[in-house]
Every structure is written in structure tokens, then in C-alpha cells.
Amino acid sequence: MPAILATPAGWPRITLAAAGQYDPDEGLAAAERVGAWAAWRQAVGSSPDGLVALVARAGLRGLGGAGYPTADKWRSARSQEDPERVVIANGIEADPGAFVDRTLMELDPHAVIEGTALAAYAVGARRACVAVNAAYDLAVSRLRAAVAEAEDAGYLGPRAAERGLDLQVEVRPLQGAFVLGEETVLIHALQSDRGMPDQRPPFPSVRGLDGHPTVVNNVETLAAVPWIVRQGAEAFAAAGRNGLPGTKLVQVSGNARLTGVAEVPMGTPLREILDQVAGGMSDGSTFKALLVGGPPGGFLPESRLDTPLDPDALQAAGGILGSGLILVVDQRACMVELGRVMERFMSDESCGKCIPCRIGTRRLFELTDRATSGRARPTDPQLLLDLAADVRDGSLCGHGILAPNPLISGMRYFRDEFDAHFNAGTCPAGVCNPLRVTPVAAAPR
């Protein structure tokens, strides 16, 4: 059972409200005791437009990372003439080591299914699909069980159709690379094509799965929808801080005292997450950086710790909200080496469709590889920045656009360390071999 970190008293729980409150293996009744499907019963029969408006009032934005307003996406799909609309719940969670969505899907599968059903109702879709990382066996079986129970209860499926509510929800385990989390890639994968992105626009909400208008929402986003219906848009809008709505699931890993998943209000400063949720740095570690947003995220230094957890603020600071992964880096790490590892991952996981991503990220990795092995050329720092900008601006999908992030943010905040590798051929942190090591204060172990 993945650890859910305790949060300070008074912090709201929305997405994980029912997680851990019931045993998903005990059947629908147990879930309904903690409020599952109440929102569905409430919403069905009311106007779908009203549901969209409710979500719009709540200010719900995509929690998968991009932060696109959910209601806008729904509205766009709803306004298409094609009646064959589709809703896809994205539970791929391809970030290495991440278990945010997995925690949610395993502990509260009904919230995910109910949210998906609500989205389908709002959009006017008769087909919905929960795409789950195939490695998540337990999540797949619990989600399937939840769908079966909901069908038995007449919320979905044939028994609901008898009452004029035509909605099929399907759970699809999918195997694939990191880039599968991208919505157009996911759509291709669901069509049994090779997982490669399409150029947007047209967005999937205009032309998606099999050419039909398709809403792709993260499972975390969808799991918040039933809560909004039950508790009201205003309660959701007030849940965040600094005027931001709702909450976000984050996962702290690395050199923090406590690691695991936590639900924190949107807009919480990163420092508070580190200190009050993760309990500060682990013993003997001093803070160096946070990697916010997973492998394509940005490295943020101490001076940016007051950045609120908010897609726009994080982007301005050089990070991304992304999957909500927060990697705590201590003084023993070399930022160039870390950047190299991230770039290697992004390069290996590229789908290979567009040139800047397929070859460009590889060349970025090679540039950092030269730096960490003492083979840097004098022109490399500028070349790194130029190529990073060109890969970001030239790439087709989010994978390539975000791939240079660790290096761009690293060059922005840890320029001294990069310059030491590039120019002096030294590694201040003493990590990179065979570079000459500069003396550092030995970290107590």
C-alpha cells in the first residue's frame, strides 16, 4: 500500500477524500457509504450544460500537468457536431517511479469511474475509456470491478441504457513508453497504432479517437469532479491558496525525510511542501534543488522555494507542474550529471517522430555527456543553450518541448556548476568521473 503523507491540519482533501476510507474490494456498498456515486445520482437528469458550468465555476484545471481549463475542453468537445464523442481518463502515469495516479486508482477506483462518467455525461459521450498503465495490476482489477459494480447498480452500461442513459465505460490497460501520457499518443495507442503524437491543433476535443471529438482528462482531474458536484464549485474554488482552486496530488521523493504521495492545496509554496509535508531534508542532507515535474521538469534552487504550486508560476520559475513529482536533491548531487540522466531518459523515451526530439534530445544528452566526462568543447555552453531553445521551439509534442527543461533550468540556476564542467573541467560536487574533483566539505553520512 503506497504511503500517503500526512498533511497539516486544515488542509483540504478532495481527490483523496475517500481514499483509504473504504476497502475497494468490499463492493459498491462500502464505497457508497463514503459518498461514491452520490454525485452521479445528483447530476444525472440535470442539464449537462449546468455540469460544465459548475466545473467552470469551480475553476478546475487539468491536473495532468498542462493545466488547461477542464470546462473549456468539455465545452469544445460538446460543441462539435459529431455525436460520437469520447471521454478518455488518462491513468498512464509513465513517469519513472511515480505512483500518484496509481495510489488514487487503487484506493478510490469509484471516484475515477464516477468522474469519468460525469465527464462523459457533461460532454454527451456514450463511450468512455479509462486507460491505465498495464503494470498497475491492482488498479486495473479494482477499476474493472468498480465498472462492473456500477453497471450492476444501473449507473452505467446496459441497465442504465434501459433507462435512456447510454454510457459504456471501458478499462484499457496499455503498455508503452513515457510519451504515452501525451494525449494524442494515448489516442493512437488506443487505436492500436504506434504511439506517436499528432500536431495540435486540431485538438482531440475536435478530432480525436477514431476521428471523433475526444476529451482526454487525467484520472486525478476526473476524480475531483464528483467532489465538486457534491460539495459545490465554491468549496472547490476556495480549497486552494493564493486564489487558486482545488488541490493537487504531489509525490515527494529523493533526500527528504518523508517520501510518498500527498494532497496539497494548489498554490502551496514549495517550501511548505518540503518542510511541512515531507518533514524537511533527510538527516545529513542540505538542500540543493528541487526537480519539479518529473524528468522533463525544472531544477529549482533555494531562492525559488517560495514558488507556489501552480502551473503558471512554476513555468515562470522554469519548472513544470507536470505529474506532481518533486525530487528533492541534496548537496551531494551534481546538477550536470542529473541533467545528463534526465536528458538521457527523455532521449531514450522519444517516440522518434519529429527531428528535434529524436536527434536533438540525443545531442543534448551527448553535450552533457561530454561535460561530465571532461570532453567539453569551448563552444558547448552556447551550443547547449541554442540547441535547447531550438528543441523546445521546434518539437511536435510536449515531450520534446519539455525535454530540454532540466538543462535550461540547470543552466539558469546552477550556471557556476555547469561552467566548472565546461570550462575548468572540474566537478564541484565530486560526482563526475574522470573529471578532476574540487575539494568539498565532506557530507556527514
Binding site: S350, G352, K353, C354, I359, G394
Partner: protein
């Protein structure tokens, strides 16, 4: 079988609808709107992408992965444009045009993105465009092309191919230093191809035909007479080649020559034993007369006429190609003494066949290391000099004429290297008695990259001699510039003219050849002349010369991008060398001393060529864009100060890259995955237009490659040999494979098996046979249904398969026998064995391949 019958039930209407479909499909009355592109207001229709609107309006946006039949894909990122009000530049092939959009296609930002993309592509593109030999040739002769013709014994065609870039194969076959051979990739196997000797043989065959009264082949179709008059001044290699190509372009050309006969340095600078005048020079210059050119000999620029005179006479263009005839001075004391001669003056006398006064029996010192010095040395021997010593200040390997040194030594000359004259020793009567030299050693490299020799003090030595011949380089005579040539300027003691447009400062006056670049090789001068002809032709047609610059630089071949895997496994076969007459015979004779190839030798030598060119060079989009986004002048005018533009040739990105193995297992389509840029066009066309889906993106990350599943042979995929993949491939990764047909009377050397004849033949006399080859069908076979074909329009969307399928369905429905041999493999596999009754047993081979499949179906007697 059941599904085929079903197809038959629905096919006619579906097929008819398909045949009538025009692509791309749009409502005829799509509303029009206006968008702004690069400051121009252009009209687009609803449903069009930005790219389509631009293409419709003649605005070019580069693409690599865009296939007009399919929706935008977005892999190559070359069609990226800027749209006002958007941060992230969108790609135009996938972005719908909207009314009022403001688009910029050529901003610095998007050009930089495209440039980076190209650099990235080239950093993983283990292929080259031109073979190295053609690349290094100053005139970029199609060397694999003429060698291919040689292997077939078609020497006239070989000479024609040669004449596309150089009009004089025989002349060059004798005097060219052959820079091509230094870079021949056959060297990786055994020895370089004898390229020069090969075109010499081809050229000589044409000369032989000319002697029999036939005409030399003309490389291009003659253009209609333009009525424009061009004066070419100078009939040397540069002037003659300019005149040759101008004549082909339809202009009226008069060549002014100050000497009695045309030829310039070819006639008056190169001795008879190297280049026979009557048979070779006159023979090849005959082609200029054949084309209608006129020589005005004995008239010199500056003394007999000026540029003003020519232009007043109504010449629309004047091309100055007067060469370099001023020998440089030594700059040491005593060089004015009696007995010190200008090497060119000496050669001029000698090549006229006259003995140079007092040469016999004298001791001669020749100073210099170029072809002129070599010619002086060997001619002096032939004129009976008692002792000839060649002295050069650099090493032998730095001599441009190093290949001849051994021959000269064999003939009895002495050669001293790394020594420079310090003074000429004279007697009281100011005649030469010797030359004092000083030893040199190689110092630091100079700006040109050659190491500059520096004197070693205290190493002086003297060579006693009676005569000194100076051959240390020449410059142009420019005294004519003083009169009647306003606007023409001098640059570093040479005629100032542009490297691409060849225009001097004066309208209608062009300068080319040695007078522009200084003394170079014959092949360089001929290349200059040819390119000047292009520029002059463009000028006469009223084109903008700046456009010409772009056009011409794109037309000129560019260097290779990357090296490639070496050849392994080729059979070793030594080069066929020309035999020479014995040294003690040839050093008394002016007869050409090299014994030419026999026909068998010429063909065998040409067969050694590995044909390592990229077959796609003429239509490769990657190459075109690489040139457009690189420094286009890189090869035309090497800059010593570096390049002013960032060049894709000087790639910023190097690193991990792929070498893939060529797949030539398919009968029709050649796959060269190293040239693949992963644009995915073949995969999409194959899957979405043809319906076969032979290719897809495979593997991930940097190793992604568009290939067949498991890299299997195309033969094992559902390939129908329609050739659409090769047709859409923007590079040479997929190519129609040249094949040799043996059964039919077609011009095999020219057929590329494109299959258009099969498509077009209204009587179905040619078909795509079961073994992927063109098969000749007899019209007497009963199952040919002319009516079913006459209804078929010549459409663009139809594949072989669809037509074949419909035909088969109808034939079956009509109860006719369908012999399996007639079917494409994909269909014969579906029909299965046993259906092809009366078919000589071919029905057993499921996919119709194999020996028995070659049998024609038995029909009534033909």
C-alpha cells in the same frame, strides 16, 4: 473466393466513384478568405492548411515529410512558420488557415529552426550525394554516368554524358591532373579507377567517328536560335567551353583569338607529345564549328579592338577569357641576363614545331613546379639539351605536376627539390653561366594551408648552365584595360568578376577563366567557362543575376556531408594502366607517348567502377534544402577567411549515428536505410493510399527508423511493387531499382521500370508480371477484357491492386478462366492454389514466384 465475389457485387459503383475522385477532396464552393503571408494578401479556402494556401499562391515553404495526398504529419518540422500572436511557431502543413491570419514564412527564427533541424538530420545521415570523384572534379563531370556507358561499350553516349559538363573529353583525357582519381572510393578496395584514361578513350572514339565524317554528340537538345550575339575573347579552354554551351543555348557566338589558330594554351602552351594538335585539339574544336560558332583569329583585344568596339558592333554580351600569359618574375639579381627565358615563350616556339635557337646541346635549368615547368623540361630534352635540371622550391609531393616527374627523370632530366634561386650568375657579357640556389625547408603553414618554404642559411650551391627557363606562374595581361573598357576593374592583378554571375562591373561584359582566377588547370578553366555560359545565357534572357546566383549555386553540386562505411567484399582487380613508349624513344619524339586502351581494356576498366553515387541526387529534397540552408558558395569560391554563413556542411552536432545495411532483395525497390530521414512518407502512403502497410516506425528514441517489421526483406511484406514509396521518398532511401530486362526490345539503359507504360497501355500489352517484372502479354489471350479498361480513366488515386482486384472480380464473375500468372502476388495468394487451371502448374506456387511463373499462360496460337 467468397470475398472476391462480394467485391464484385459492390465494386463497380465503388470503383467508379473512386476513379472519379479527385484529390485533394474539397467542396467545390468552399468559402474563400484572405490571409497575409510575408506581407502579401493571398486567398485561401476553408479547409486548407497554411501550407496549401501558400503553395497555391506560389509561396514556397520547405517540407520533407509532407505528402500532398495525406494530411499534415509534422515529423520534419521544416514547414514551421510564424503566426502573429503565437509564441510557439506552428507547422504550416497541419495548421488550418484562418481568415485574417498573419503568417511569416522566412523570419530569422523559423529559418534558424529549419537550419537546426537540417543539421540534426545530417548529423545522423550516413550518406553522401555525389560520389567523391565527381565532387572533387572542378567541373563535376558525371563520372559514374560515363563509366556506366563505357561498360556497355557505348562510347558515344559516354562522350555525350561527359560533354554535359566538359566539351572536350579527349583533351582532358590527356592533360587533366585528374583530382577525381585521388578521391576514388575504389581505392578502398584496390586501386582508383583510371577515370581520365577512360574518358580519353571515349573521346577518341568520337574523334575517330568525326574523322569518318560523323558529327560529335551534342549533350543537350539544341535551343532555338535566340538572335542574341555574344563575343568570346580568347579561344582557350575557358573561352571555348563558354562558347560551346552558349551555342547550345541558341546564341550566336563569335570567338576572337589573337593567334593564328584557336586553342590558346591548349595549342601554344602544351607540347605536342602530351596533346596532339591536329588530331585532338582541332578535332574537339570542330564541335564548336559544327554548332555554328565562328572564330576570328589573329585579332587581339587591346590592339585590334576594344570592349567598346565590340559592344558598338552590336554584341549583346562579351565574355573575356584571355587567360594568363605574363610569366612572373623571379625577383633575384641577374634575371635580365641573356639566356634567361620566359618558359611560356619557349613553349610557344616549341609547340609550333620550331627548334628554339641555340637550345641543342645547351645546359638548361628550369625553375618552377607546375605543368609549364614540366613541359619546359621535357621539351628541352626533346630539343637536344645536353643536361636539363628542374628545380622547385617545395617538396615533390606539393608539385601540381608531380605525376610527370618520374617520366621526366626516366627521359633523362634531373630534378632538385626544396631549393630556390638566390641569383643568376652571369659572365661579363651578361650571359648566364649558372644559377645560385639556396636550400629550403618547410615552415609554418600560410593562409592557404600550404606550408611556406623558408631558406636555410649557409646552404647555397650553384648549378652551371647556359639557359634558364622560368616557369614560376603567370598572371593575366591587363594592358587592354586602359582603352575602351570603362567599368571593368582589376582585383589583385586579375580581372574583377563575380564568382557565380561572372559579371564585371560593366553591363554585358563577363570575365571567366584564368584571367579571373589566375593560372589554374585546364579542367578548372573549362568549368569556369561553362558556368560563365550559364550566367551569360541568363543575362541574355533578361533574368535577374541575383536570382541566377541562387539558381546556379543550387545547380552546382556540393561536397559530401558525411563519410560512409567502407566497401568490403568487392573482388580485387587491378587498374588498367596505359603503357608508355620506352623513355629513350620518347625523349627524342613529339609523338604522343602513351598507348591508349583497347576497347576491351576500356570496358573492363569502367566495369571496376563501384557506381557509388546516390541515385536520388537529382530529386533529393534533403539535398536541395541542405544547399539552400547552407553556405551555397562553399565549393564555388573557397574562402580563406571562413564562411560568412552558418553552414550545414560544418555541422555543429556530431555524435552517435547509424550505419544501416542496404536492402536490395526486392526486385523493384532498393532500400538504403542510411539515407532515411524518418519522415514516414512511405509508411503513410503505403498504409493509407496503397493499403499494403509494408513500413512503419520501428524502435524508439534515437534508434527510430522507418522500416519493415523486424527489418525483413520487402519481399516478405505485403508489398505490391507499386513503387509509391519510392516515388514519395524525399531522399534516396527508397528508389526504383534499375533492372536489366532481357526479353523485350526496350532501351534497357534508359528504362527505369517506373511502370508508367503498364499504366498507360490501353491494350494491356504490358503488365506487371508475377515476378515483379514487366511482362509482355499477348493480345490473343482470351481473358483480356478491353472494355473493362477503356472505362478506366487515367486517375491519380488508383493503385495496381485495386485495378487488378476489380479486373479479377469481373473476370471471375463472367466465368472466365483467371490464370494465376496474370495476377499480382498479393491477389494470387488470395485466390489460392488450384484456381489457375490450364496454367502449367504455376498455381502451386502460392505467391506466384519461382521459375515456373515465367511461363505465359497457354492461349490460342499467336
Amino acid at each position: 473466393m467468397a470475398d472476391l465475389i462480394e467485391i464484385q457485387a459492390t465494386a463497380p459503383t465503388l470503383a467508379e466513384r473512386l476513379f472519379e475522385t479527385q484529390s485533394p477532396q474539397r467542396p467545390h464552393s468552399a468559402p474563400a478568405f484572405t490571409i497575409e503571408v510575408d506581407g502579401r494578401q493571398v486567398t485561401g479556402r476553408a479547409g486548407q492548411t497554411i501550407l496549401e494556401v501558400c503553395r497555391d499562391n506560389g509561396i514556397e515553404i520547405p517540407t520533407l515529410c509532407y505528402e500532398p495526398k495525406l494530411p499534415g504529419f509534422g515529423a520534419c518540422r521544416m514547414c514551421v512558420v510564424e503566426v502573429e500572436g503565437e509564441d510557439h511557431p506552428p507547422i504550416s502543413c497541419a495548421r488550418a488557415a484562418e481568415a485574417g491570419m498573419v503568417v511569416r514564412t522566412q523570419t530569422e527564427r523559423v529559418r534558424a529552426l529549419r537550419h537546426t533541424n537540417l543539421e540534426l538530420i545530417f548529423s545522423d545521415h550516413n550518406a553522401y550525394c555525389l560520389p567523391p570523384c565527381q565532387n572533387k572534379c572542378p567541373s563535376h563531370i558525371d563520372i559514374p554516368g560515363f563509366l556506366k556507358a563505357n561498360t556497355e561499350g557505348d562510347f558515344v553516349e559516354s562522350a555525350r554524358i561527359f560533354k554535359r559538363t566538359i566539351p572536350f573529353p579527349s583533351v582532358l583525357g590527356r592533360v587533366c591532373p585528374a583530382p577525381c582519381e585521388e578521391h576514388c572510393r575504389r581505392d578502398e578496395v584496390d586501386e582508383a579507377i583510371a577515370i581520365r584514361d577512360s574518358h580519353r578513350y571515349a573521346g577518341d572514339q568520337v574523334l575517330r567517328l568525326q574523322a569518318e565524317g560523323r558529327k560529335a554528340p551534342v549533350p543537350f537538345e539544341l535551343q532555338p536560335r535566340s538572335g542574341k550575339r555574344v563575343a568570346v575573347i580568347g579561344s582557350g579552354p575557358a573561352g571555348a567551353s563558354a562558347a560551346y554551351y552558349l551555342l547550345i543555348d541558341g546564341h550566336d557566338v563569335t570567338i576572337y583569338e589573337r593567334d593564328e589558330k584557336p586553342g590558346g594554351m591548349l595549342r601554344y602552351g602544351i607540347p605536342e607529345y602530351r596533346l596532339p594538335k591536329d588530331s585532338v585539339v582541332d578535332g574537339e574544336y570542330q564541335s564548336i564549328l559544327d554548332l555554328g560558332g565562328r572564330f576570328e583569329c589573329g585579332r587581339a583585344l587591346g590592339t585590334d579592338f576594344t570592349l567598346d568596339d565590340l559592344q558598338n558592333q552590336g554584341y549583346d554580351a562579351v565574355c573575356v577569357a584571355i587567360g594568363c600569359y605574363d610569366t612572373n618574375k623571379l625577383g633575384v639579381p641577374g634575371e635580365d641576363a641573356d639566356g634567361v627565358f620566359d618558359g611560356l615563350e619557349y613553349l610557344r616556339t616549341a609547340t609550333l614545331g620550331l627548334p628554339f635557337p641555340g637550345h641543342a646541346g645547351s645546359r638548361v635549368v628550369v625553375i618552377g613546379g607546375g605543368f609549364t615547368s614540366m613541359d619546359c623540361t621535357r621539351t628541352s630534352l626533346r630539343q637536344g639539351a645536353s643536361e636539363v635540371t628542374l628545380v622547385y622550391r617545395r617538396d615533390m609531393k606539393e608539385m601540381s605536376a608531380s605525376s610527370e616527374v618520374h617520366e621526366a627523370i626516366e627521359e633523362g632530366a634531373h630534378a632538385i627539390f626544396q631549393a630556390a634561386p638566390t641569383r643568376v650568375i652571369t659572365s661579363e657579357r651578361n650571359t648566364v653561366t649558372g644559377v645560385e640556389f639556396q636550400r629550403m625547408r618547410m615552415g609554418a603553414p600560410d593562409a592557404s594551408g600550404r606550408r611556406r618554404p623558408e631558406p636555410v642559411p649557409g646552404t647555397e650551391f650553384t648549378i652551371e648552365c647556359d639557359r634558364v627557363l622560368l616557369a614560376i606562374g603567370q598572371g593575366p595581361e591587363l594592358a587592354w584595360l586602359d582603352h575602351g573598357s570603362d567599368g571593368v576593374r582589376v582585383n589583385r592583378n586579375r580581372l574583377a568578376a563575380d564568382a557565380v554571375t561572372f559579371s564585371t562591373g560593366r553591363a554585358g561584359v563577363f570575365g571567366t577563366g584564368d584571367v579571373r582566377v589566375g593560372a589554374t588547370t585546364v579542367v578548372q578553366a573549362i568549368a569556369e567557362g561553362r558556368r560563365a555560359a550559364y550566367a551569360i545565357d541568363a543575362y541574355l534572357k533578361g533574368m535577374d543575376l541575383d536570382d541566377v546566383r541562387t539558381r546556379q549555386t543550387i545547380a552546382e553540386p556540393q561536397p559530401a556531408f558525411l563519410s560512409i562505411v567502407p566497401f568490403t567484399g568487392e573482388l580485387k582487380e587491378p587498374r588498367h594502366r596505359l603503357r608508355s613508349m620506352p623513355a629513350d624513344v620518347r625523349n627524342r619524339s613529339y609523338v604522343e607517348y602513351e598507348i591508349p586502351y583497347t576497347q576491351v581494356e576500356a570496358m573492363d576498366e569502367a566495369r571496376r567502377c563501384l557506381q557509388c553515387t546516390c541515385e536520388a541526387i537529382g530529386y533529393c529534397d534533403l539535398r536541395r534544402l541542405g544547399i539552400e540552408y547552407g553556405t551555397t558558395l562553399a565549393t564555388l569560391e573557397p574562402s580563406r577567411t571562413g564562411f560568412s554563413h552558418r553552414s550545414v556542411l560544418e555541422n555543429r552536432f556530431t555524435g552517435y549515428n547509424h550505419d544501416y545495411i542496404r536492402d536490395d532483395s526486392h526486385a523493384f525497390i532498393l532500400r538504403e536505410p542510411s539515407r532515411c530521414i524518418d519522415c514516414g512518407r512511405c509508411a503513410r502512403v503505403c498504409a493509407e493510399v496503397v493499403g499494403a502497410a509494408c513500413y512503419d516506425f520501428m524502435r524508439i528514441g534515437m534508434d527510430t527508423l522507418v522500416t519493415t517489421p523486424l527489418d525483413m526483406s520487402l519481399n516478405d511484406t505485403p508489398c505490391v511493387s507499386c513503387g509509391r514509396c519510392a516515388e514519395t521518398c524525399p531522399t534516396g532511401a527508397l528508389m526504383p531499382k534499375p533492372r536489366v530486362l532481357e526479353q523485350y526490345d526496350v532501351d534497357e539503359s534508359r528504362c527505369i521500370l517506373c511502370g508508367i507504360c503498364v499504366d498507360a497501355c490501353p491494350y494491356d500489352a504490358l503488365r506487371c508480371g508475377p515476378d515483379f517484372e514487366l511482362a509482355h502479354e499477348t493480345r490473343a489471350v482470351p481473358d483480356i477484357d478491353l472494355l473493362s479498361y477503356s472505362a478506366v480513366q487515367h486517375d491519380t488515386e488508383m493503385s495496381y491492386v485495386r485495378r487488378e482486384r476489380d479486373w479479377m472480380a469481373r473476370a471471375l464473375a463472367a466465368g472466365r478462366d483467371v490464370s494465376i500468372d496474370r495476377l499480382l502476388p498479393v491477389l494470387s495468394a488470395r485466390i489460392g492454389p488450384g484456381r489457375g487451371e490450364g496454367n502449367g502448374g504455376a498455381g502451386g506456387s502460392g505467391n506466384g514466384r519461382g521459375g515456373e511463373a515465367h511461363q505465359l499462360p497457354p492461349g490460342p496460337a499467336r
